[in-house]
Assembly symmetry: C2
Homo-oligomer: 398 residues x 2
Amino acid sequence: MTGDFQHLLSQRTQSMQRNQIREILKVVSQPGMVSLAGGIPAPETFPIEELYKINEAVLDRYGAAALQYDRTEGFAPFLEALAGYLAGKGIDAAADELLVFNGSQSVLDTLGKVLLSPGDCIALESPSYLGALSAFGAYQPSYISIASDAEGIVPEALATALEQHAIKFIYLVTTFQNPTGRTMSRERRQQIADIVKRMNALVIEDDPYSDLRYRGEAVPALQTFAPDNTVYVSTLSKIFAPGLRLGFCLAPGLIRDWLYTAKQGADLHSNTYAQALATEYICGDYIARQIPKIIALYAPRQAAMLGAMDAHIPAGYRWIKPEGGMFIWIEGPPGVDGEALYWRAVEQKVAFVPGKYFYINPADGLSTMRLNFTRVDEGTIEAAIATLGQVIRENSHD
Amino acid sequence: MTGDFQHLLSQRTQSMQRNQIREILKVVSQPGMVSLAGGIPAPETFPIEELYKINEAVLDRYGAAALQYDRTEGFAPFLEALAGYLAGKGIDAAADELLVFNGSQSVLDTLGKVLLSPGDCIALESPSYLGALSAFGAYQPSYISIASDAEGIVPEALATALEQHAIKFIYLVTTFQNPTGRTMSRERRQQIADIVKRMNALVIEDDPYSDLRYRGEAVPALQTFAPDNTVYVSTLSKIFAPGLRLGFCLAPGLIRDWLYTAKQGADLHSNTYAQALATEYICGDYIARQIPKIIALYAPRQAAMLGAMDAHIPAGYRWIKPEGGMFIWIEGPPGVDGEALYWRAVEQKVAFVPGKYFYINPADGLSTMRLNFTRVDEGTIEAAIATLGQVIRENSHD
């Protein structure tokens, strides 16, 4: 039969899965739905007016160079700009130690490609960022969940896992984690760094959210405690525009070299024009004005959500109060079914993400829920949380 | 020893190779070098003045939507625009049958990811586009070269190979091929289509150059002869701007579905802003004015090269005269060493690509050379070919 190509699929294709959050989000596009489900920036945070000027500056300054094939590692002025941006976060990086990718998702995919043979083991905090599992999954790994508490991954649990298993790398979102919002404490970072250095382990530190800090003091990247053992991954998606797909990494030499080679085969290089826009965004100091605007939009939304939760979410439910990021994580009492609550809430036109999808073993997170506060205004958030509280109360009689 | 991560590399990483053409091109950046080596567009072909207007139109029309996360398959208006563009080439595609990638290189990489398990066999014309081997190589395939003549791959040789080997797909650049410049004839396309349909085989038709036709009549894409058996791959790199990394494909349903899933895990989606720029470039009819300008720049350059070759390249060397594209391919008489000629020519400040790098078995192409005519003006081309003729004559006395 012509066109039946099932037999042509690779073994790895069998282990690929559609991003389940994206599938669930399909109902979110129904008219009138209030979505606390996504993890995407508010469009009001995009510097659209500024982009008229930034575009002109890019065409004036770089001309054809912004439109031509370019080096695999990244547009040279952008690498310089990124090094400066990272210095401002206390991360010591030379331009030639960085690599630019199509969003941080593409860094994770390429790390999987370079590091993972089928069956290789990845250590994860629990719960974990689902998109990373979607990237790594194509390379047929196995996963081991490391116990985590309010400060992040538990050092003793990590040390034991590294002793007992051949772990290719440890994947962590260290600050304002997706999905929990939690931040690994400074002391915990030092402990984790000591362990990975002692055991010559490799950490992938994914850091998309640390600029979205609404209060409290910045914590240095885990990378700064163990630079030779960390691949630091970040993105401009949350502080410029995700549609530009500008992710990047700072990696130890050997890993960087192979990421470069893999990227050369996979897509030659990342979008030159987007990199030139970002160069102007950073060097023209737009970023220094834009981040405070983004924070000024998100901080009251987070405060509104936390306030409404205090008022409306019944006793027995717990949540931490992150100092930044995009998410609040709720754990219900034992027996609560977060996905059942999801479908009831959707009937009332409020959507969130059932937390079990962020677990390797979904049974570990049946009672959990992830709420996003960046996309809707304070009044809408307060009404949505009131609705969610009502849904929870109605369903606790079941 | 901390930082020694050699043991962490995947099995597939061992089979990755740096793009050898890029390594050779390093000497090309020496001052005063005339490069006939690259395969990149002349910067004069980029519509820079128009982009000032296109940028404004995109920000006016799409605003935040051009900067936001988007669907994995591509920016909806761009998919519509592409369907219209393909209709103009006689290719029948609905917007929802297309997928957008980061350049056609990324389509090839993702096809490899979805289709290739280690050891799987790919059939190639000989010589072949090196970048494709660089994409597929990461998935540890084996290759089989199919005999090719001036009209492209030889039908009987393909049929025999399909009978004797389990071939995952056949990779072909059907029009103005890189590196040879040759175009598969209409009759040959029909013969190849009949074979792949009869044997339920899958063809990847890579078509980056067909719009660069300087004379003669367009030949319909192989895809139009065997739509259920062809993944049609193309790009806007040669007719808009390669730095925007806009590749795309039209694939049979099952293959498209898995490409979608693989892309979702690999990078979520392609650059929204670049897709919006390309939408405006196509729908604002800029493309209809720009392609003739590109042709008006390249056609005389090709004519200058072919004329100079008639005048300066010694007897015994053969080349076809392509009706378009970016390359002229020279085959020297037996015993000629194209790489030795390369280094002698580089001493005289003229660079090209030794053709052996385009062969699975480099020994099959020792006497061959690829010349690009798109980057330098007619006078420079004539002088460079005169120099090359001189180098050839001097080295034929060895």
